[in-house]
């Protein structure tokens, strides 16, 4: 029922991309996003698509998983495109009605915006699909460490992130269970107008909130029982090392970045 959500979902296969150091992947994703904003013509986007396609092939994650993530931003995407089409000034006017005008420039910018958004989402979902949540937060913590001096609570941020990521599937499963239990009592979540449907959510939301609080409390207690006391002096089971595959990736990413600037 609720299993279609892919944001933050790890796709477990073995590939060079999966084996990479999470720090390298985060940094490269950053570079990728910045590079994306340097580009302002279609040849550049063609170049990005090609590079991205190659990387996806290497990651062994089916492309439809990437595309699934797009569904969640479909509305934002359409909204952005519409806004850009109708409210960009300049260039040849193709069509106009009242205060709405479509210009050549508007169409081009809207298309570029759409490309940018789609590539942005696919690129960043590649990061989450090939990196397990734990690796991801390890990487983030490690990258944030230098900023601790200026008061960035690196460990706390990473811990909060890993806990919330961990809770997503648990709460989804819980929702599924509660929904089924209420359906067994004749609840109907599918029919009726919007107000009736909203009201039908109450029997799900109340037990869900209660169980979320209960779980949070239990987790806090379990962490304390195992002597958790924050990040100071804590050693880790898996320490991060850059390997050959990471250096290769850095070189390729640099080439990509230069390509973005030149094109």
């Amino acid at each position: 029922m609720l299993r279609d959500i892919t944001i933050g979902q790890y796709y477990p296969v073995d590939s060079p991309i999966h084996r990479m150091d999470p720090r390298a992947k985060i940094l490269i994703t950053f570079a990728y996003i910045i590079g994306l904003f340097f580009i302002n013509h279609f040849i550049g986007y063609g170049f990005v698509v090609l590079c991205l396609y190659g990387t996806i092939q290497m990651s062994k994650v089916p492309i439809r998983y990437m595309l699934k993530g797009l569904r969640s931003i479909l509305f934002i995407l359409l909204f952005t495109v519409a806004l850009n089409i109708f409210f960009t000034q300049g260039g040849r006017v193709l069509w106009s009605w009242g205060f709405l005008t479509i210009t050549e420039q508007g169409l081009i910018i809207a298309a570029q915006m759409a490309c940018r958004l789609i590539l942005l989402i696919i690129g960043s979902s590649l990061l989450t699909l090939t990196t397990s949540p734990i690796q991801l937060t390890d990487g983030i913590e490690n990258l944030l460490n230098p900023f601790r001096r200026i008061g960035v609570p690196a460990h706390e941020i990473a811990m909060m992130m890993s806990i919330s990521l961990r809770f997503i599937p648990i709460l989804l499963e819980e929702t599924d269970k509660i929904m089924k239990a209420q359906m067994a009592r004749g609840a109907d979540f599918e029919s009726g107008n919007i107000i009736r449907r909203a009201k039908a959510m109450i029997p799900i939301m109340v037990p869900l909130f209660i169980s979320a609080f209960r779980r949070a409390e239990e987790l806090a207690m379990a962490m304390e029982a195992r002597c958790y006391r924050g990040g100071v002096g804590r050693t880790r089971l898996h320490s991060l090392h850059y390997e050959k595959v990471d250096y290769c990736a850095f070189v390729l990413a640099s080439l990509f970045f230069i390509g973005c600037i030149i094109l």
Binding site: I178, A184, R185, G186, P207, I210
Partner: protein
């Protein structure tokens, strides 16, 4: 025939790396008014199977018939099926949400679109059936004890007046008295109302005591079916798949090894007591 399942196979997350076949070619028949127990190791597919009984899950392959009707056929009122087949999930107290016990139990009957009077009657009946008196009606379900919450949740399903009642480990986490009370109520309803009951349990003692027939699941397949006596005769095989016989059976076996001439296909403490008593009387007579 209350429930009939034919060649049912179910796969979770098909065509993904998370693909998992939970049930494989299941064939089951449960007669009207039967008390059937389903046992199996954790992950053997029990919980998936019971969700098939009221159409919460649609099988990947195969048919489910409730009272002779294919519940995934065309023009089937799924709600009517769920009224007929009451399903009590594991830890059902986590589904409570209303302000008062009364309101929570009334949730099911309200969904069925019954009139006020009928709802009132059913709620009172269901709460009485689980042994909660009037003093609980206006309490918040969240201020009750665990066992009382459990009973409210079960009453919520009973208020639907199902003719088939399915319970997934209803006594997990209850104290011995709470467990006995609940089972006695179930037995009463089984006898008095002719309710068909399907019970998932990890307690071989409870199964041996209450079930007329057992279904043993192992890795998504039916391993054994039959009366408790027939099924528990496969003692060693049951142990191999992570199950066991009732404890009393092991005691009798040891006594027999020590030289007592007694039957070992005994499953309840009461029967065992009778056996041992008979043996002792016989020995005294022989000695005299």
């Amino acid at each position: 025939m209350a429930i009939k399942i034919e060649h049912l196979t179910h796969t979770y997350n098909p065509n993904t790396p998370f693909e998992k076949t939970a049930l494989e070619d299941i064939n089951i028949e449960i007669k009207d008014g039967e008390f059937v127990s389903i046992i199996g190791h954790t992950g053997s597919g029990k919980s998936t199977l019971i969700q098939m009984f009221n159409g919460l899950l649609k099988p990947t392959m195969g048919q489910v018939y409730i009272k002779g009707q294919d519940i995934h056929g065309e023009n089937v009122d799924r709600k009517a099926v769920r009224q007929q087949v009451g399903l009590v999930f594991q830890y059902p107290e986590y589904q409570l949400f209303e302000m008062t016990v009364w309101e929570d139990v009334a949730f099911g009957p309200k969904n069925l679109g019954l009139n006020e009077e009928e709802i009132r009657e059913r709620v009172a009946y269901a709460l009485q059936a689980v042994g909660l008196g009037e003093e609980y009606y206006q309490k918040s379900p969240f201020e009750l004890s665990g066992g009382q919450k459990r009973r409210v949740a079960i009453a919520g399903v009973l208020a639907m007046k199902p003719s088939i009642l399915i319970l997934d480990e209803p006594t997990a986490g209850l104290d011995p008295k709470g467990r006995d009370d609940l089972f006695n109520k179930l037995k009463e309803m089984h006898k008095g109302l002719g309710l068909t009951i399907v019970l998932i349990s990890h307690s071989m003692e409870d199964v041996a005591r209450y079930a007329q027939r057992m279904i043993v699941l192992y890795k998504g397949k039916v391993k054994y079916q039959g009366t408790p006596k027939e099924v528990f005769a496969h003692g060693d095989e049951l142990e191999k798949i992570g199950l066991a016989r009732p404890q009393i059976a092991y005691i009798l076996e040891t006594l027999k090894e020590k030289g007592m001439d007694i039957a070992t296909d005994i499953l309840t403490v009461e029967e065992a007591a009778l056996q041992i008593k008979a043996y002792l009387l016989k020995r005294r007579d022989n000695n005299a």
